[in-house]
């Protein structure tokens, strides 16, 4: 009966569960509800993903109003793929959160935490599913507001200033997007993405549309923390509760990358963005600086969460690099990395959260000697870390492989080399932590304490992600076919132009 409504369910299920959590009142009931709803959304998303692989794009007219008059839910493979990752990670993070926030968040706020998490999930699902440019802004704001709340729940008071900076930057970003969308509407009279794409084609080179694109790209770049607009991210991820860091690091910025892909490839079209405006060169340059600058920053931090946060900014550089290569393979590599990076960063932040739970600190000194005291957690950290580096048989290798392939196909040997050099910095920042864990004696932070392995509810989701890292590093058929289909679909117009030339 609900089969044709599946595309809309990943949005409205968490949306309705969020107020229900408040009505339920009890935090463990809220936890149960949130987890179940999130899991259900995940199952639906995977189903939707498989459907898009078979049947192509799914379109759903909200309120029965046909686009462009009504709002359309439009899920293609790219959306469904990231949606599956987001809902999947959300489920795992919720399972993980129970023990984690019990230590890090005041008990009176647990219900609010789950509510905010569900709202954030609603926003992210909405962004991924919607086919309407303004609707995207609305969902962006739902997820952002929930995110500010989630970040501010951290136990250190610095989380407040981090959340505030995030709020100011995020709102500027959203307003920029709003300006851009307004300019689009002004010139085309429509907000539906497909309709926009059709109508923009006739305005190639129009100055209002160019400005609109610039504002949208800057706005999205703030949201996805593209260098040099990334300054809000490291403090936010450092001081947020661990479960929040795990969720945001693996989903929020990725969804923003998706928004960028959507605006560049679906709405404006690669021709406009890369040919008329030559955005590829700018994005490429920023991506490369991001990779090196932020990887380097990651190597000198002493707070492990900050290390991972800077690493996230660097990894976003890889995704943008894939996009800026302007090819189907490059885009595919970018999408793959969105998916794979979610798996690795989720696992890493979860491991760090477990360390915080047991040692009370995330300083690199707290990691000393943990190889023996928390073997399972550190093993998870190690494997996910290897995935970040891009060691073969992990998911990270797969995305890096395609990224370099894409660069080489364009004869960009230097860029290919730079991508690989970037992994070396990853070796350093991950290696430092591993060395502390396995080769150093416990420091004064943990010496004498009886440190136990993390609780089961935290280990299980962590290891699910670790195993996913290995699984998607070996059996790549699903991720590759999804990313390939998605990229083909998105670059369709581009290939048509090439063929015409």
């Amino acid at each position: 009966m609900f089969a044709q409504h599946l595309p809309v369910l990943p949005i409205i299920l968490p949306l309705m569960a969020a107020p229900l959590c408040i009505l339920l009142g009890r935090s463990h009931l809220a936890w149960l509800l949130a987890t179940l709803v999130s899991a259900l959304s995940f199952v639906i998303s995977v189903d939707v993903l498989l459907t898009t692989l078979e049947q192509g794009v799914l379109s759903y007219a909200i309120g029965g109003w046909q686009p462009p008059w009504g709002i359309e839910i439009r899920i293609d493979t790219a959306s469904a793929m990231i949606l599956s990752a987001v809902t999947g990670i959300s489920t795992l993070v919720l399972v993980y959160a129970k023990e984690s926030i019990a230590k890090e968040v005041d008990p009176s706020q647990h219900t609010l935490f789950y509510t905010a998490h569900l709202l954030c999930l609603t926003g992210l699902s909405g962004i991924l599913s919607t086919g309407d440019a303004f609707n995207l802004f609305v969902f962006l704001e739902i997820s952002s507001l929930a995110t500010y709340t989630l970040v501010s729940l951290g136990s250190d008071k610095r989380c407040l200033t981090a959340a505030f900076r995030y709020l100011v930057m995020g709102t500027i970003g959203a307003t920029f997007i709003l300006i851009g969308v307004g300019m689009l509407y002004m010139k085309t009279g429509t907000l539906n993405m497909i309709d926009l794409a059709d109508r923009i084609a006739e305005f190639n080179g129009n100055r209002t549309l160019k400005t609109g694109l610039a504002f949208i790209l800057v706005g999205v770049s703030i949201k996805l923390a593209l260098f040099p607009l990334h300054m809000w991210l490291p403090p936010a991820y450092t001081h947020a509760p661990s479960a929040v860091s795990a969720f945001l690091a693996s989903t929020a910025t990725k969804v923003a990358v998706y928004v960028m892909v959507r605006f560049i490839f679906t709405i404006y079209g690669a021709e406009f963005v890369f040919h008329t405006m030559s955005m590829d060169i700018l994005l490429l340059a920023l991506a490369i600086v991001a990779i090196f600058k932020c990887s380097f920053m990651a190597t000198v931090q002493s707070n492990v969460k900050t290390v991972l946060a800077y690493s996230s900014v660097a990894q976003i550089g890889y995704m943008i690099l894939g996009i800026s290569l302007v090819s189907s393979v490059g885009l595919m590599a970018g999408l793959l990395h969105i998916f794979n990076h979610a798996l690795m960063k989720g696992a890493l932040f979860m491991a760090v959260g477990a360390v915080l739970l047991r040692t009370g600190s995330v300083d690199i000194k707290a990691f000393q000697g943990l190889g023996k005291q928390m073997p399972l957690t550190m093993a998870a950290f190690t494997i996910a870390g290897l995935s970040i580096i891009g060691v073969p048989l992990t998911a990270g290798f797969v995305s890096k492989w395609y990224l370099v392939t894409a660069a080489l196909e364009q004869q960009q040997w230097v860029i290919a080399m730079l991508v690989l050099l970037g992994s070396l910095l990853a070796i350093i920042y991950i290696g430092r932590i591993l060395e502390a864990a396995y080769f150093k004696e416990p420091s004064e932070l943990t010496a004498g304490k009886d440190i136990k392995e993390a609780p089961m509810l935290m280990l299980v989701p962590m290891w699910v992600l670790v195993i996913a890292n290995i699984y998607f590093g070996i059996d790549t058929s699903l991720t590759l076919s999804a990313a390939d289909t998605a990229a083909q679909l998105l670059t369709q117009s581009m290939t048509e132009i090439e063929a015409a030339q």
């Binding site: 303004f134 704001e141 008071k157 610095r158 200033t161 709020l167 709102t171 307003t175 300006i179």
Partner: protein
């Protein structure tokens, strides 16, 4: 001349936006930052509403004898955006209150100094 007449509205709105934007990024006081954010957003709303204006049109409420209406769609969008704006303001101000409690100040450079000491 007609070019100016046709565009003056947008230009002034741009000026307003930029004044708000300047307050957001230059102000040191967090409350003032939020005020700036609101000015910035309100000015963007004006841009949208300007898009919707039709010369000689009236408010988009169907009535006898009126044939030209202004475009209702920007109005709807901005209604939503205003709500989003006030929601952000509320959360932002709540954060300011908490920052004051935690740091004893809402001047950005002052709590930055304190953070460095930690």
């Amino acid at each position: 001349m007609s070019f100016i007449v046709d565009h003056y509205n947008y230009w002034i709105v741009v000026l307003l936006m930029m004044m708000g934007f300047y307050v957001v990024i230059a102000a040191n006081n967090l409350v003032k930052k939020i005020v700036g954010l609101n000015i910035f957003q309100t000015s963007v709303f004006m841009m949208y509403i300007s898009i919707g204006k039709v010369n000689g049109g009236s408010a988009p409420i169907a009535a006898e004898g009126i044939t030209t209406y202004s475009n209702p769609l920007p109005h709807v969008l901005i209604l939503t955006a205003i709500v989003v704006g006030v929601a952000t303001t509320a959360v932002g101000l709540a954060l300011v209150v908490r920052i004051k409690r935690a740091y004893g100040t809402v001047e950005e450079n002052e709590f930055e100094d304190k953070e460095d000491l930690i």
